[in-house]
């Protein structure tokens, strides 16, 4: 086996040094009662070439872009990834390193993540960002737990227009605790009914997503006013599409205390939902309550600039059961990918690209409206929106799959009150022709 370098002679020689007769005897300290696996039931090993063929076969039937035209967003978005990003990210020095415990020989990872943290603060309009969480969903759960630590209260409110999977993860994290999650409904315009917040007291945090699961941009300014009428309550803003902030106001400028979301859009392939990237940022005054790793700037013995892991006393390996989270590592390579992407696209590029995304969506929305479909929510949207198709559309949806078109996500499974409603998404990867074909096909 090509990953196991030992020759038989070397094994014999080493066994002599160790003082045992054979490899099995290395396990004399293991009780016989559990040394019971004689042969693991696994398929025979494949050569590299057989494996390639097997994997090519496995992937052959996948409905993957760009072969399929997939108008699905809902937390996972199709954006072009520059070759330079893919190429740079494949460098062994980034991939095969671990957590930068030894900063002198990890400055590449450390500076890259320091730059990532900085870019995330600029993107979200916040003061500090951590080195990342697992994904947007666990990031939201951690943000709400953080609000409970800061406010020293036991209840949080969560908009039902937040991605249903994110809310499920929040419920999982909260289920064994004594803390309570209250849901805030959405309005007919697709935005969260923030007037309900006033009736809830003793809230540690209030979470909305913007744009929300329906693509609707929340009125964060008004939300901030309501939330901050209680000075102890934290405003938590989640997102699933960071491209938004290339065009729209960022949450920090509208009063958010914690911003958390999924960063997959920036240079990370959808890859059947993972790995993604939990971006996580907060106001400076809350930094010691933040979960996750932080990289800070410092000086070396000769006075040169360098970077280290810092404020580690918040973390599990030091504060143990009182830690701000049990998270150990981060999504290091994904954070690096997103920083490479943000650097490649640049400030000017991100503004242009976000605008193009917005315009493609508006184009599709208008074409569908003109074709006679109703758009149940009239709030402004970014990158995705809800359309109501007529009864019996399920059949059309199935037929379109055969034409390699995936016409959005049926919402009824998540929101029984929205039968026939579909969440559609278009990004810069859809040409106008693709959009026209979609409109034509759903109309026929």
């Amino acid at each position: 086996m090509r990953y196991l370098p030992h020759t038989d002679e070397e094994i014999t020689e080493m066994l002599q040094v160790v003082g045992v007769d054979n490899l099995e005897d290395l396990y004399k300290s293991c009780p016989r009662g559990c040394c019971t696996i004689t042969d693991m039931d696994l398929p025979d090993p494949l050569t590299e070439w057989e494996l390639n063929r097997h994997m090519d076969e496995l992937t052959a039937g996948m409905g993957a872009s760009p072969e399929y035209k997939v108008f699905l967003g809902a937390g996972s978005y199709d954006h072009f990834i520059p070759s330079a990003v893919q190429y740079l990210l494949s460098r062994s020095e980034f991939i095969t390193a671990y957590t930068p415990y030894q900063p002198e020989i990890s400055q590449g990872t450390l500076q890259a993540i320091y730059e990532y943290q900085t870019l995330v603060t600029w993107l979200t309009g916040m003061d500090v960002a951590n080195a990342s969480m697992y994904d947007g969903a666990s990031g939201l759960a951690e943000a709400l737990l953080m609000s409970i630590r800061v406010a020293r209260r036991k209840k949080v409110a969560v908009s039902t227009a937040i991605h249903p999977h994110y809310r499920q993860v929040v419920n999982t994290y909260f289920s064994p605790t004594e803390y309570e999650v209250v849901e805030i409904p959405y309005l007919e315009n697709g935005r969260t009914d923030i007037s309900r917040i006033g009736n809830l007291d003793e809230l540690a945090g209030v979470a909305v997503q913007s744009p929300n699961f329906f693509g609707c941009v929340e009125d964060l300014g008004a939300l901030g006013d309501i939330v901050h009428s209680d000075p102890k309550t934290l405003m938590v803003v989640a997102f699933s599409e960071p491209m938004t902030y290339g065009l729209l106001k960022n949450p920090g400028s509208l009063g958010a205390d914690i911003v958390c979301g999924e960063g997959q859009s920036f240079g990370i392939p959808r890859s059947f939902g993972g790995p993604g990237l939990g971006m996580f940022a907060a106001k400076q005054k809350y930094v010691r309550n933040m979960p996750g790793r932080l990289i800070g700037q410092t000086l070396d013995k000769d006075g040169q600039r360098g970077f280290v892991l810092t404020l580690a006393t918040r973390e599990q390996h030091i504060r143990r059961e009182k830690a701000t989270s049990n998270i150990c590592s981060n999504q290091g390579l994904c954070a690096t990918a997103s920083a490479m992407y943000m650097a490649t696209v640049g400030g000017t590029g991100l503004r242009d690209l976000a605008r193009l995304n917005y315009d493609k969506n508006e184009y599709l929305k208008n074409e569908l409206a003109q074709a006679g479909f109703s758009l149940p929510f009239n709030s402004p949207t970014f990158n995705e929106f809800v359309v109501k198709f007529p009864d019996g559309f399920e059949n059309t949806y199935q037929k379109l799959l055969e034409k390699k078109i995936v016409a959005g996500l049926a919402l009824e499974n998540y929101y029984p009150e929205l039968p026939g409603c579909y969440l559609l998404c278009a990004t810069e990867t859809s040409t106008r022709e693709d959009l026209d074909i979609l409109v034509k096909e759903v109309t026929s």
Partner: protein, 135 residues
């Protein structure tokens, strides 16, 4: 780390087994950590203190002190209400290392039971305890 003989322990303070010191100042008591404690912890990078008006029992945890890779809890030498905190420590936590009994003070309390002060160790008793730990 230094030898105990290299460290200073003022005569007019009282000490606890957890290495806090307390100093009577009229009706209030000032509290910090001893030279021994700061030396054991190494470079102190952050001190977390309670809010003025909070009350704690004797032995209650009123805050934490952090070095780069360790966190230690701070315990009340005696019960009482927080009358003042040393806000300067936010910007200069190194005062706890450089001047543990003066600039490095942490909190000032209005004691619930002033008699608790007299139950604390004096310098001689504290030094005996430290020497006992060393051997």
């Amino acid at each position: 780390m230094k030898e105990i003989s290299e460290l200073t322990f003022p005569d007019d303070l009282r000490y606890t087994k957890d290495h806090e010191w307390a100093k009577q100042d009229g009706d209030t008591i000032k509290i910090g950590i001893s030279a021994y404690a700061q030396d054991q912890l190494g470079d102190i990078v952050f001190v977390e203190l309670p809010a003025v008006g909070d009350t704690f029992d004797k032995g209650g945890e009123f805050g934490t002190v952090e070095s780069v890779k360790a966190v230690s809890e701070l315990y009340m030498p005696m019960g009482g209400e927080i009358a003042a905190i040393n806000e300067a420590l936010e910007d200069t936590p190194e005062s706890v290392n450089n001047a543990p009994y003066t600039d490095g003070w942490m909190i000032e309390i209005k004691p619930g039971d002033p008699d608790e002060y007299n139950a604390l160790m004096d310098k001689a008793a504290y030094l005996d305890m430290l020497k006992g730990q060393e051997s």
